[in-house]
């Protein structure tokens, strides 16, 4: 498969000997225009890859912060077409690698293949499909490969070794390692055992491993980055943009908060 922006970014990071920083936002919170600006500011802050959530009414893998962000986005009128348009707008100004974090129903509604194609045309690099485990993936894999999109796979603390083996075989881009059981959201400390889990993945795959779920401070970001190739920061970024005024100054403040976490990761 042709290399995506995500693949190329991780090659570049590996050559530089740097750790990666993956940021997450809910597309359309508080509106899709602001999302474009938020993403561009995060790129300036040094974020390497963006995960944009396609808002869904029933995001069962998400904690309160991301659920509420999705609700706000839907209330502000973030449709599927609007979210695709948002990617196109970002692409006019940026080559930042972007993946969609999505629940299946939002893609099935207009036909899975058509949704994937629309996203590819808008300039997306891959998908992380939250509720599509290995066992169900087969009918949906082709659309992703045909459009040269990464299919990011999750590995969690409850995933046994033989299952990790099967998952990494289907994976590309990077492996998203969930550092703890539970839903998304900031935690007081990084779960113990995250390092061991990353090691179990590394035994079976050469793909970069990103560690996520629960990271919200520069210290946590640094600690997590030491255990893996990249860190994923989600709800802390969602909160930062939500709690600051929805003005260019507010967004600059939020981006500055994220930059401190990025810098901590890049120091390693």
């Amino acid at each position: 498969m042709k290399k995506t922006r995500v693949d190329r970014k991780f090659l570049e990071l590996s050559k530089q000997g740097k750790k990666g920083f993956i940021g997450y936002l809910s597309a359309g919170d508080p509106n899709l225009e602001d999302t474009v600006d938020q993403v561009l500011r995060l790129e300036d802050a040094g974020v390497d890859v963006m995960e944009l959530a396609l808002p869904f009414s029933d995001p069962l893998a998400d904690g309160r912060v991301n659920q509420e962000a999705a609700t706000r986005a839907l209330e502000a009128g973030a449709t599927f077409d609007g979210c695709m348009n948002c990617i196109s707008k970002i692409r006019e100004r940026s080559e930042l690698p972007i993946i969609y974090y999505a629940y299946m129903n939002t893609l099935l509604a207009r036909g899975f293949d058509q949704s994937i194609e629309a996203a590819a045309q808008a300039g997306i690099d891959g998908f992380l499909l939250l509720d599509l485990p290995l066992e169900e993936a087969k009918p949906y894999r082709k659309a992703l490969t045909q459009n040269a999109l990464n299919a990011i796979q999750l590995v969690t603390p409850t995933t046994p070794d033989e299952r990790i083996q099967k998952i990494v075989r289907q994976a590309n881009g990077f492996i998203y390692c969930v550092s703890r059981e539970g839903v998304t959201g900031v935690q007081a400390e990084i779960a113990t055992g995250a390092g061991a889990l990353v090691a179990r993945i590394k035994e079976k795959s050469n793909l970069p491993v990103a560690l996520g779920f629960g990271i919200g401070t520069p210290e946590q970001a640094r600690d997590a980055a030491q255990l893996a190739d990249a860190v994923v920061v989600g709800s802390a970024i969602v909160n930062a943009f939500h709690n600051n005024p929805h003005t260019s100054e507010g967004r600059a403040n939020a981006a500055a908060f994220v930059k401190r976490m990025v810098d901590a990761v890049k120091e390693i």
Binding site: T71, T106, A109, D131
Partner: protein, 397 residues
């Protein structure tokens, strides 16, 4: 027709499956393994039968509704009295089965979701009986309309957690229960209350509820010496209906009629009649008919009955519908209340608002049957929990 069975990953034809986050896959696989073992284990069967008999009060009667039959003047009507189960509804058939399973898996903590509160009460009951911790998630709106059941659950020692996001009904309660389960996966078993969600739940819940149909089939053969013409049951998630239907699937001449919640009428969109709109999707782990908008956002639903107020339907029903083996229809809130009143006055049985939908369908369609027809209606629960809400509804309507 052969009874419908899922494949090894829970697919009923194109429906069902395991569309869940990765964290849940191993626990679901473990649950499937353990369930498959106990399913064949005579000791487990014996234990379950013991508690169903001695504690739940099974078998429940199949009662000849003589006055209802005479009033309607067509088919001969029997009522399967699940309302006479301990705790007042069929829900305990499943809770009992699953708690025995949880004990085998060594789980110390039980969680459940509840809509009308009957599943929450049933689960709180079996937890009290076996001394396990019990947490029940319930939409704040449902807590208000089913306050009596909240009190019952708390009296039984359960913690009832109000869910205040979204529509604050059953769907949100399921989301929260799943989030809890993802977080506490090692200590906790999730007793899902309907034939919904990811595999193995639709199959497992159906199996535990099939006791309804197994008994009813024997009872009708004993009473009448022949199989019924039709089975009628309400369909929310669809556990009481699949429990009644499944043992009859092989009996090709037996019509199976599922009655959904028509709410204010399907035209205005304020309903929970999934089969009235032809949309398939994935919600809470399973692929099935789902009420949703064109962007795949789950629709708001409405029913006077909290137990039927849900945007998706159990996947096996979707298959039975596509195969034409079962028929699905709906009645409105107003019709359901009429069903409640008629059964109360004709037979001295106050049905749950959920079950009142099945009664109402019969009232509406009595003319389509003849005196030779034989009907079984599932009275899935009793209506005591609904009287406050009905009193209020009647003062406004």
């Amino acid at each position: 027709m052969k009874p419908t069975q899922p494949d090894s990953h829970g697919h009923f034809g194109d429906y069902g499956g395991m569309f869940v986050p990765e964290t849940l896959m191993e626990p679901l696989n473990e649950l499937t393994r353990v369930y498959k073992e106990v399913r064949k284990d005579p000791e487990f069967k014996k234990e379950l039968q013991y508690y169903l008999r001695e504690y739940v009060g099974r078998p429940t009667p199949l009662y000849y509704a003589e006055r209802m039959t005479k009033k309607l003047g067509t088919a001969k009507i029997y009522l399967k009295r699940e309302d006479l189960c301990h705790t007042g509804a069929h829900k305990i058939n499943n809770s009992m089965g699953q708690i025995l399973l949880a004990k085998r898996m060594g789980k110390k903590r039980i969680i459940a979701e509840t809509g009308a509160g009957q599943h929450g009460v049933a689960t709180a009951t079996v937890c009290a009986m076996f001394g396990l911790e019990c947490v029940v998630y319930m939409g704040a709106v449902d807590m208000e309309r089913q306050a009596l059941n909240v009190f019952r659950m708390e009296s039984l020692g359960a913690t009832v957690v109000p869910v205040t996001v979204g529509q604050q009904t059953l769907k949100e309660a399921v989301n929260e229960a799943m989030r809890d389960w993802v977080t506490n996966i090692r200590s906790t078993h999730y007793i899902l209350g309907s034939a919904l969600g990811a595999h193995p739940y639709p199959m497992m819940v159906r199996d535990f509820q099939s006791v309804i149909g197994i008994e009813a089939r024997k009872q009708i053969l004993k009473a009448e010496g022949r199989l019924p013409t039709a089975l009628i049951a309400c369909v929310g998630g669809g556990s009481n209906s699949i429990g009644l239907f499944h043992p009859f699937i092989k009996d090709d001449g037996v019509r199976m009629i599922g009655v959904e919640a028509g709410g204010f009428g399907v035209e205005g969109g304020m309903h929970a009649a999934r089969f009235a709109e032809d949309k398939i999707g994935i919600l809470q782990g399973t692929k099935t008919y789902v009420l949703q908008d064109n962007d795949g956002q789950i629709a708001l639903t409405h029913s006077i009955s909290a137990g039927l107020d849900y945007a998706a339907v159990g996947p096996e029903h979707s298959l039975l519908r596509d195969l034409g083996r079962a028929e699905y229809s709906y009645v409105t809130d107003v019709e359901a209340v009429d069903g409640f009143d008629k059964l109360s006055q004709w037979e001295g049985i106050l049905p749950a608002l959920e079950s009142s939908h099945a009664i109402a369908w019969m009232l509406k369609n009595a003319d389509t049957f003849t005196k030779d027809d034989l009907i079984i209606i599932n009275v899935s629960g009793r209506g005591d929990k609904d009287v406050m809400q009905l009193a209020e509804w009647k003062s406004k309507n």
